[in-house]
């Protein structure tokens, strides 16, 4: 091949992406700058300021961080210019890491949006990050459950139902222990948690039996579990919880600040002043990652997920790997449900998971079937969710339907752009037949 590569090819080669994608990236960057200018900057009056509060009512209040006060219009013009400049750079020279640049642009765009939305007002940034994290936790647990199941090639559509079962079980057992047996709450809550985990394990085992042993279509098996869970929990909640209020009141876990770490300005109280279930999520993320990529069990799990026949010819028991993983996956999903109760509201409502199990599956995919990837995606979903409620409070002049929609739309666009194509485990969803 003697053809000299065109400028485009060189730019694309620098970033390791196709020429068309390199060009699209550049145009998106410039477009973001233009949008900031047209939508936000021109709407800002001279002399207006946007105030970002960087504290929220937690233990860190002893050492408050001063508020961040930005002049609205100059900030927006500057952000628009930076985006346009980065776009020009991408088109002319090309970034070595174009996807990272896209992430930065997205961050800048959100910053611009918040600056505009909070012009003339104050906006509690730390408070919003805190609520983003809390909203992300159940999604992250659902996603983690998905990772654990799908890494060995069992699709778990039933996460939603498993969460619901976990939430109901935790409510009933923890309330029973607390209010009828008179246990102290330090005992009733772990008891509720353990019962939820046991219920989750049974749900996981049920899915495994259907999907692995009887080779039922996994989408159908998972859907059956969802329908079953909705039915049982709604029925029991109408029959029991509605009549005995003391069975629907668990109390909630209090935040436990981690010494020193919670004092880190701005993010300290967000990350390190949470209840124990949030810390349990952190631990689970690390453990899952280590097990998956650095232990015998993890290697076998991944092999079973990619090429079960190969694993079988090496004497690995494909069925056992799947049974164990899916059962654990059920427990993690139920933990997500228990968090909704013990870590959040303290009482059960019918259908209270409200699609978090499915959003968790989306987070799993965006996170490329990696524990921390899934957590990151869950954080973005949580952020979008929290942002949308905050904006409604700020009375931003955008129809509420769009407010509800926009963060998700943006999330999907960003994630599709930044993360790129996600490849599931090769055998995902296929039952294994011994020859």
């Amino acid at each position: 091949m003697s053809v000299s590569p065109s400028t485009w090819e060189r730019i694309a080669a620098r970033g390791g992406i196709s020429p068309r994608k390199a060009r699209t990236h550049g145009l998106i960057f410039i477009g973001a700058g233009l949008l900031i200018y047209l939508l936000f900057a021109r709407a800002a009056a001279i002399g207006e300021t946007s105030t970002f509060v960087l504290n929220f009512g937690g233990a860190a209040e002893t050492a408050p961080v001063p508020d961040l006060v930005l002049p609205t219009a100059p900030t927006l013009y500057a952000l628009a210019l930076v985006c346009a400049f980065l776009g020009g750079w991408q088109l002319a020279r090309g970034f070595r890491r174009p996807n990272l640049a896209l992430g930065v642009i997205t961050g800048l765009f959100i910053w611009a949006f918040l600056t505009w939305a909070s012009r003339g007002q104050s906006f509690n940034l730390t408070g919003m990050l805190n609520s983003a994290l809390l909203r992300a936790v159940p999604i992250a647990l659902a996603a983690l459950s998905g990772v654990i199941c799908e890494r060995c090639a069992v699709i778990n559509i039933g996460i939603e139902g498993m969460m619901l079962t976990g939430a109901f079980t935790a409510t009933l057992t923890a309330s029973l222990a607390l209010n009828l047996w008179g246990w102290p709450s330090w005992a009733s809550m772990p008891f509720g948690l353990i019962c939820a985990l046991v219920a989750g394990a049974w749900m996981g085992l049920l899915l495994a039996i259907l999907a692995v042993r009887f080779k039922v279509n996994q989408i159908i098996a998972g859907t059956a579990i969802n329908i079953l869970s909705v039915g049982i929990t709604s029925f029991l909640s109408a029959r029991i919880l509605a009549h005995f209020q003391q069975l629907n009141n668990t109390g909630t876990l209090q935040p436990v600040p981690i010494p020193l770490l919670y004092r880190i300005p701005v993010i300290g109280p967000v990350i390190f002043e949470q209840n124990l279930l949030v810390y349990l999520l952190y631990i689970l993320l690390v453990v899952t990652h280590i097990v998956l990529f650095h232990t015998r069990w993890g290697l076998r799990t991944r092999a079973v997920g990619e090429h079960p026949r190969a694993a079988d010819t090496l004497g690995i028991n494909v069925f056992r790997v799947r049974y164990v993983n899916v059962t654990i996956g059920g427990m993690v999903a139920a933990l997500g449900g228990a968090f909704l109760i013990l870590g959040s509201v303290g009482r059960f409502d019918e259908l209270m998971t409200a699609g978090k199990g499915f959003i968790g599956l989306a987070a799993m995919i965006f996170g490329k079937w990696m524990p921390f990837g899934a957590f990151g995606a869950a954080l973005i979903f949580g952020f979008a969710d929290a942002l949308q409620t905050k904006l409604a409070i700020l009375e931003v002049p955008i129809p509420s339907q769009f407010l509800l929609m926009a963060p998700y739309l943006m999330t999907i666009i960003i994630l599709a752009g930044v993360v790129g194509e996600a490849v599931p485990p090769a055998a995902d969803g296929q039952p294994y037949e011994k020859q």
Partner: protein, 517 residues
Amino acid sequence: MPPVLELRGITKAFPGVLANDHIHLTLEEGEVHALLGENGAGKTTLMNILYGLYSPDEGEIFIRGRRVEIREPGDAIALGIGMVHQHFMLVPVLTVTENVMLGVESVKHGFFLDRTSAARRIREISRQYGLQIDPDALVKTLPVGVQQRVEIIKLLYRQADILIMDEPTAVLTPQEVEELFKVIRSLADQGKSIIFITHKLKEVMAIADRITVLRNGRVVGTTTPSQTTEEQLASMMVGREVLLRVNKKPANPGETVLEVQNLEVLDDRGNLAVRGVSFEVRAGEVLGIAGVQGNGQTELVQALTGLRPLLGGRVRILGGEVTSAPPRRILERGVAHVPEDRQRDGLVLSFPVADNLVLNTYYLPPFARAGTLQQEVILTTAEQRAREFDIRTPSILTPVAHLSGGNQQKVIIAREFSRPIRLLIAAQPTRGLDVGSIEYIHQRILAKRDEGCAVLLVSPELDEVMSLSDRIAVMYEGRLMDILPADQATREEIGLLMAGVKKSENHKDTKTQRGIN
């Protein structure tokens, strides 16, 4: 001293076939024992029984004189049996080390994978047996020849001393086959006992110490290369005299039928699989495309037949533009397609033979009138074609799934050849067929050529390409390395081209060197 391995009276029936019928086989220490037989003779079944993947209906297995039960692969591995499967059993997204240690992982601190010590042992094995490998490479980035080395290392890592290799040469270039043979020799010299499965006569003569021939699930005989000839082995394998070469008249090329310019096509994963390919095929000639599987041939054929979108380039048939044309417009220009995967792309398996025979013409008279199928016409035509093309089927209403591979292929040939065609695109037309069917299909293809049809033949079987083609193009990593006249091309030259080496250049392409440290 008892033999390392002895199989006694192994019998295994599948619904409708007796795949293994009282098979006896002995394997001596340090010997290379070739198991020769046509496709479907029962070789893989026998080895799967030995490896614990199937359980035999009858028969006993002895290892060093001791009777053993092998219920699952774990048992076989524990007895020192290792198998390189016909379809590789590697996990593409894992590294060489991870693939090799899978199932016998070494751990440190009782918990964490010890990749370092595993990689060290792989390097030792690699040195001891001359199997060059980079333990840290991802398997999916390795060429097939190197992947096969990984499979062999897997066995040695488990300290197997009975090695089974099921058709290991099917995916290799001639040079890679030679390298493999060297490795096999060195393994045998170091005391390993090897069962080498193949249906290729030349290989048996080159590598085997002893040869056992299987036919229809039975042992026909055991011999040694010095006591036999290729012709003798062929007739043992097939059960009758066979012609080992194709007789063909010199070609008489006419006008240009297919013209391809700078064709670029993406594969399923979005990688460039065909990179700027240009060639033409003329009436009355066979252009053969040789190359190891997976070098873009599949995508090329799919693009030419309208089954895959083009990224760039032009395709013209008889001067008419068919770039990005839908498949029906292409076939209506007189193009016949014998697809690579006949069961997936060539037939509707659950449909009867008769319906499969009109899949490309059912909407035209006389098979359809006023939008309704004319069943009678379809059936009488099917009867006629089944006779004409010697399709062995209980009835033309039998689902085509129940036919043998050879007869399925004849259904496709009958369908494609029974209308006026100007261009035949045949991808691996004899894949998995018995010698008799191969002969038949080769004759049919050459007859089409002699009628003045242009033929594009794509096949990874070098012998097939060399014996049928008038010109030979070699495809490597999506490019045509060269196009040679068939009467001047040598096996060595084509083999080198298949590995990405041009004589004048005399250096290897980087891809083939990846995975070698």
